[in-house]
């Protein structure tokens, strides 16, 4: 057995310190929260999306509960909106004064900004086999990316179509699109709260990455 060199102990202490500090900076609730459109408070709604799928998407709703003290409910098995959010917070990087190989190198935490992201999964309200109504909701304490993905499956083939929206510009928010992977057709219509005009654009981000619009990321 060799004795652990002092600098390794120092480095361990510094890393533990940095980790503790980083924990202090913020403790974002990054769980993907699941909500059902029909449970939403109408006052919170940022956008209502009516989707008519050309082929009926899979509909086998399931409800799962997790957690013992704090209950967390998840839904699955039918079309949903994946809405991404981000938060800028303070984090710490580990800086080192001096040569890290030397015995008396001094590690110190240096503050940086960290972007954390979280998602909200909003399940649609089924109007009939092909028609669903979704609402886009804000997540308290998080910034919106003004984008979302309609995630659904037909015959077990999972597909996602991404959209960007804005309440500040005006454009035709009712159109037909074809999904990127399997070419499923869907027609969408967005309405904004209070009947105000707004803008909805399709944008083909990779399915699963709704905040990364291919073209209209800067609709706002």
């Amino acid at each position: 057995m060799r004795r652990t060199p002092v600098f390794q102990v120092l480095r361990g202490v510094a890393l533990a310190g940095a980790a503790a500090l980083a924990g202090c900076a913020s403790s974002p609730d990054v769980y993907e929260k699941h909500v059902r459109s029909e449970d939403a408070n109408p006052a919170d709604v940022a956008l209502t999306l009516d989707v008519t799928f050309a082929r009926a998407p899979d509909y086998e709703p399931k409800t799962n509960e997790f957690g013992s003290k704090v209950k967390r409910v998840e839904y699955a098995g039918y079309p949903s909106l994946d809405v991404p959010f981000y938060q800028k917070g303070l984090g710490f990087d580990l800086g080192v004064l001096g040569d890290p190989r030397a015995l008396l190198a001094l590690p110190y935490p240096s503050p940086t900004t960290r972007t954390t992201s979280a998602q909200l999964k909003i399940f649609g309200e089924r109007l009939d086999a092909n028609r669903y109504r979704f609402v886009v909701l804000p997540r308290p304490g998080w910034n919106s990316m003004h984008s979302f993905q309609v995630a659904f499956a037909i015959n077990g083939r999972r597909e996602g179509m991404t959209f960007a929206y804005s309440a500040k510009t005006v454009c035709e928010s009712r159109f037909d699109v074809t999904t990127p992977t399997y070419g499923f057709g869907m027609s969408v219509a967005a309405s904004f709260p209070g009947g105000k005009p707004g803008c909805l654009k399709a944008c083909d981000a990779r399915p699963g990455y709704p905040g990364q619009c291919a073209f209209f990321s800067g609709v706002e």
Binding site: R55, N155, G156, V177, P180, G183, C203, R206, A214, F215
Partner: protein, 266 residues
Amino acid sequence: MPAAAHAQAAAPAAAPTYLKATEPLGGAFELEGYPASTLRQIKYRGKAYRPLNAYEFIYVKALGPTQEGQPMLLAVSNDFMGVGTILIAVQNDTPLARVLSPTVDMRDPDMGLAQPGRQDLLLFTAGSRALVTSTGQVLWFEHALPKEYQRSIPLLVSVSPDNRHGALLLDNEIRLSKADEGPYASVPFTKAMQIAAFRPASDGSSELARKALAEGKRIDQRRLYANMKAEWINRNFRWQEGKDGWQFVGQGLKAVPLPLQSRQER
């Protein structure tokens, strides 16, 4: 530094190679990239366009047909981007991409196989997709029945003349599938028959791959083999429209209808 300045003074007409250059691609599309690099970025109306989050492309070309006055583009991404061959078309003034081939390979990108006997159809065998080059229509055919676990990997080997039906080669059969509806018939082209029939394709593809390797090129032998299988099938089977829809006949085999999918109206 002085050398560069001198060179610039000597040839003011030539564009400097260290700056990004844009070239028009037709319509509102442009390509941007360093002249010395083969990687290009796509711009639409002066703004970067990153279809399916890929932003660097090794091949971008206008296909020919247009949509909303904008050309349709056939593009192959850089392999780091994780997106293979795609088709870009403008809908409602928004460029939108469709996946043609999931193959991510820069040395030998999947540019499709022209279906023998068809002028305007490219087969992308691995992803069960096809491209009608005259209209830019992308076709995809489902091979599995609802809830069916299918262990063989399908190859799209042929598309019917009406572009609505596809033949998918599975391990023990050829499935006939209708676009938007799914498989409807099965041709009993069994494993034993396939082994005998594809022997020349197997030998030919390994011979070609060996030759290419000797020339210092790397080719995707598996895709070459798949494409040679598709060629063999197109030579030995043909589409026939009967009273019970489009059938794929050849080798004395008769298609068996698959159990009708009850579209579960849930």
